[in-house]
């Protein structure tokens, strides 16, 4: 589904990704872990098409298409979803408006009819229940005045509504207390399926207690140094990241 080869990216003149390779197939959950500044969030941003990141080498293929050639909205419509590390507050743009406009854009792209107002509301209510969100969220501005945990839940709500093929979660666990973490993990787990791939970008192993990954990768200095199964995450938790770097240097 997603095939990243030798990806190099920089912000301004600062090189951040330095030859990253990653292969994600449908149905898989990948965790990308690494110390601060290793390039985790840059990877997420490049996949979503955020401006300001220059890809200087390498390719990203998504469902057979050149992802880097697609505008952010084309990526979203084609099924790529980024859960933001820092969701933006947009006062004056209503949550319901955004959910509806986003869903209709995606459905239109898939050749599906727009949902009518009743179908839409019924669907939203069900997903909100899953995310344990109050209905008053709908009438508020996008993320306006939301707490950190509410913002993260709202990201997963949007993901649940849009049903992407490839979801990239950028540090969705950061700033969450244990209850909120459970709710978010629950939402993500409900979306696991054979047609969908999930890439979790995270600093801590904690999230992986709730969302069990098929693969764990260690990202350091812009490259993936080591890949393994979920036991790698536990080992990182115990031993930190330094031994991976030393091992890589030896090799």
């Amino acid at each position: 589904m997603l095939s990243i080869r030798d990806l190099h990216a920089q912000i301004g003149t600062r090189k951040i990704l330095k030859g990253l390779d990653l292969e994600v197939r449908a149905g898989e959950v990948h965790a990308i872990m690494g110390p601060n500044g290793s390039g985790k969030s840059t990877l997420a941003s490049v996949l979503a098409g955020r401006a300001g990141y220059e890809v200087t080498a390498g390719t990203v293929e998504y469902l057979g298409r050149d992802l880097l050639e697609m505008a952010p909205e084309e990526r979203a419509r084609a099924g790529v979803f980024l859960a933001f590390q820092y969701p933006v507050e947009i006062p004056g743009v209503n949550n319901t408006y955004l959910l509806k406009a986003a869903l209709n854009a995606v459905r239109k792209h898939r050749g599906e009819a727009e949902l009518d107002a009743f179908e839409f509301l019924a669907m939203i209510r069900e997903k909100m229940k899953l995310m344990q969100m109050d209905e008053s969220f709908l009438g508020r501005g996008v993320n306006e005045g939301f707490s950190g945990g509410e913002k993260k839940r709202n990201e997963i709500l949007q993901m649940a509504v849009l049903e992407p093929r490839l979801a990239v979660l950028d540090e969705t666990d950061s700033g969450l207390d244990i209850d909120a973490l459970r709710v978010v993990a629950n939402g993500v787990n409900s979306l696991r399926g054979p047609d969908r791939a999930i890439v979790l970008v995270t600093h801590y192993q904690r999230l992986l207690d709730y969302i069990e990954p098929d693969f764990v990768h260690v990202l350091s200095d812009g490259r993936i140094l080591k890949s393994g199964d979920k036991s790698l995450a536990l080992e990182l938790e115990r031993r930190g990241y330094d031994w991976v770097r030393q091992e890589a240097q030896v090799a």
């Binding site: 955020r50 505008a71 952010p72 979203a76 933006v88 004056g92 406009a101 995606v106 949007q158």
Partner: protein, 431 residues
């Protein structure tokens, strides 16, 4: 003063002399007003009140004073059941709603008010000071009529609408004039729509005098939608009585060159002025707003909250001045000017000015000018909205805060729809 401008004032004098025989008892007051205009003349670029707005083109033109005619006027549907129509400064009762105005309201024209003993000095008063005193004087000299609206003490009449239209296929000028008096304890809402098309260059020079009595509340909903070839200059002069409130909801959507000077005098204790509005200066429109609030008494409150958008070669000016005079203790003044530039060539000059000469007051002001937030644009696009949809949603959110304060639903709807249509065209035109 350069020669062209002198010639142009001679043209206005000629128009005044032609009209003079029709002025009757008002002749002396009008002659004095005209001399005030002639004395002040057109502003020069060095005039601080006209720093960002040049009237050179206006000063160089000659306009015919439009006299009575029966030109058909195309009006938008009325927003409330009772509408008054003023065409080229003249009351046209046959175009408005037949029958009596809402209970609690009295409407009179200049002659009738004069016969009732209303002093001409009040009906044709020339407000002193500000950048538009000259034009208010010209209006007092040349206005063909005055619409006097009285709200009875304690009355809460149904809202009314006043449509002020500029017509004709020749370059004409008109001088519409209103005097609104909301008596003690009354509550009224008045919609004021300035409309005109692009058939000719026009000079509309409007004046509204507003007197809000003690414990009275007056809401004025102003919509400016003049044609692109128009010069629209307007002076609104408001005085507010004890515990009275004047509220302006302003929507400036069109005029080739538009200028509003609003002066609110809070001379009675606990009087309030709330001035909120928006302007959209796209194309080559130039929209200039000058607000001036004087806090002269204890416990007075004012709010200025304007949002402006400029695009294309559009240009806008916002100048909000609030003065808290000595002795106006316990006063509160808030000023906000937020501005959005949609394209690189557009320009907005904003200047909030707060002068405080009392020590026990609460005041704050702020002004911002910027572009749509790139992080918010990316967020919306990353959810599948096109760039155009995202820009449109953020732009509507920007004006939404002011539109949602327009607590007259049909008026708010007209403003919102007009904004949406214009913004849609604007955003489509962008690459």
């Amino acid at each position: 003063m350069n020669a062209l401008i002198a010639e142009s004032i001679a043209g206005y004098r000629e128009a005044f002399e032609v009209a003079r025989p029709s002025f009757g008892a008002a002749e002396a007051a009008r002659a004095a007003a005209f001399e005030r205009f002639a004395e002040l003349g057109f502003p020069s670029p060095r005039d601080e009140a006209w720093k960002y707005t040049s009237l050179r083109r206006l000063a160089m033109r000659q306009f015919v004073r439009r006299t009575v005619d029966s030109t058909p006027v195309a009006l938008e549907p009325a927003l409330v059941p009772f509408r008054i129509v003023i065409v080229d400064g003249r009351l046209r009762p046959e175009l408005g709603t037949r029958g009596s105005p809402p209970v609690g309201l009295t409407l009179r024209a200049l002659d009738a008010a004069g016969r009732d003993g209303e002093p001409l000095g009040a009906l044709l008063r020339v407000p002193a000071g500000g950048g538009t005193e000259r034009f208010a004087a010209l209006n007092a000299a040349l206005c063909p009529d005055v619409l006097l609206i009285d709200v009875a003490p304690g009355a809460s009449p149904e809202p009314i609408e006043i449509d002020v239209a500029a017509t004709g296929s020749e370059a004409g000028m008109s001088h519409p004039r209103l005097l609104i008096r909301a008596a003690q304890g009354s509550a009224a809402r008045i919609i004021l729509r300035h409309v005109g098309d692009d058939a000719a260059e026009r000079f509309v020079n409007a004046v509204a005098d507003v007197e809000v009595g003690a414990d009275a509340v007056l809401h004025l909903y102003r919509l400016l939608s003049q044609g692109d070839r128009s010069f629209h200059i307007e002076r609104i002069e408001a005085t507010v009585g004890q515990r009275g409130t004047f509220v302006l909801h302003d929507a400036q959507l069109g005029a080739g060159l538009g200028r509003l000077d609003l002066h609110a005098r809070l001379a009675a204790p606990e009087s309030t002025a709330e001035l909120t509005g928006l302007f959209l200066a796209d194309g080559s429109r130039h929209l200039d707003t000058h607000l001036h609030v004087d806090h002269l008494a204890v416990g007075t409150r004012s709010l200025q909250d304007y949002r402006g958008i400029a695009a294309g070669r559009g240009r806008a000016v916002f100048n909000g001045k609030t003065i808290v005079h000595p002795g106006a203790q316990k006063s509160q003044a808030r000023q906000t000017s937020r501005n959005l530039l949609l394209t690189p060539g557009a320009e907005i000059d904003t200047k909030p000015e707060l002068e405080i000469y009392a020590d026990d007051v609460q005041c704050n002001h702020g002004a911002t000018t910027g572009q749509l937030d790139p992080a918010a644009l990316f967020y919306l696009r990353s959810r599948g909205l096109s760039e155009q949809e995202a820009r449109s949603a953020l732009t509507r959110a920007f004006t939404g805060a002011v539109v949602s304060r327009m607590d007259h639903a049909p008026f708010a709807t007209v403003v919102r729809d007009a904004l949406d249509a214009r913004l849609a065209r604007l955003l489509e035109a962008q690459p």
